[in-house]
């Protein structure tokens, strides 16, 4: 499962840490992060999504080919986090359907890897007819 290289804010640093040598995500099959949405299956929304960025996030999600999954990483992507105001989207699930929410501000790399493992469990239970 290849994630899309899509970090927005501070959670992106933890996502980079999860991908780097110490908490290696390539052990779990995510050897590389694809910069292009056309070639990725997983969008880890890492960071706060502002109202100006929301149509762009939706456009990138639409450009991903099926099957695709979304992990909302961190508090800001899950529910708006500490930013309860007019400028920040209160949770990225207002615009894209999310499969796994990872809590934390920012979540530790181990928490993100746990979220990825949870997603793998979910995918194992899915049938091909979900996407066909």
């Amino acid at each position: 499962m290849w994630p899309m290289l899509f970090g927005l804010a501070c959670c992106a640093i933890e996502m980079m840490a999860a991908q780097a040598a110490n908490y290696d995500m390539s052990r779990f099959g995510m050897e590389l992060m694809r910069a292009s949405p056309r070639q990725s299956d997983l969008m880890i929304v890492a960071g706060r999504v502002s109202r100006k960025m929301a149509p762009i996030v939706r456009q990138l999600y639409d450009q991903m080919p099926d099957p695709k999954w979304v992990i909302a990483m961190g508090d800001c992507a899950s529910c708006g986090g500490v930013f309860n105001n007019y400028a920040i989207l209160q949770g990225v699930d207002e615009i894209v359907p999310v499969d796994v929410y990872v809590a934390g501000c920012p979540p530790r790399p181990e928490a993100l890897i746990h979220g990825v493992m949870t997603l793998h469990e979910k995918v194992r239970g899915e049938k091909i007819t979900t996407w066909a």
């Binding site: 100006k52 209160q90 207002e94």
Partner: protein
């Protein structure tokens, strides 16, 4: 204040009917909007204030009557002095001339002030919103703009808020 700044303040008071204030060593001069461009041009040319350090606005509604103050801070490297200039404006759709011709970096500062406060800058070359999306209505940093927060979903109101939440389809 040093001699350079004293001469600058005296110049502004004599020519532009300014009022000056001092607070902890920092000088603020209050100028009317019609004298603004002229004063800043002469400050830049004659007194060597080469840099516009910041340009912001403050909303004092409802406490003080000229509701908005547009604040400029100009900086002189040669003399190592800073001078703050405030322009009081009133009303819901205030207009002030642009200083983009005097200091080029005022372009984005004025776009931000238009976006956040709704203060029009006449003569600005690119009056677009810079922080909010282009089709946003309202000016967020005004004091009468609602906070725009979402009600927090605790366990006692979980179901009511879940019914109201948007549910995107897969």
């Amino acid at each position: 204040m040093n001699a350079h700044l004293q001469s600058v303040v005296k110049f502004l008071i004599d020519n532009f009917q300014a009022q000056d204030k001092e607070y902890q060593g920092q000088i603020t001069v209050i100028v009317a909007p019609e004298h603004l461009v002229n004063a800043l041009t002469r400050l830049r040319d004659e007194f060597d204030f080469s840099m516009l350090e910041l340009q912001t606005a403050v909303d004092y509604w409802p406490q003080t009557s000229p509701r908005f103050h547009v604040v400029y801070q100009v900086n002189s490297f040669a003399n190592n002095t800073q001078l703050r200039i405030r322009v009081p404006l009133d009303g819901n759709a205030p207009v002030i001339p642009t200083i983009e011709g005097v200091f080029a970096n005022a372009n984005w500062h004025e776009r931000e002030i238009w976006d956040m406060f709704g203060i029009r800058f006449e003569g600005h070359s690119d009056p677009r919103r810079i922080l909010m999306p282009e089709d946003w209505a309202g000016h967020p940093l005004r004091k009468d703009y609602p906070l725009g927060y979402e009600e927090v979903q605790f366990s006692f109101n979980f179901d009511e808020i879940s019914l109201r939440k948007p549910k995107p389809g897969k």
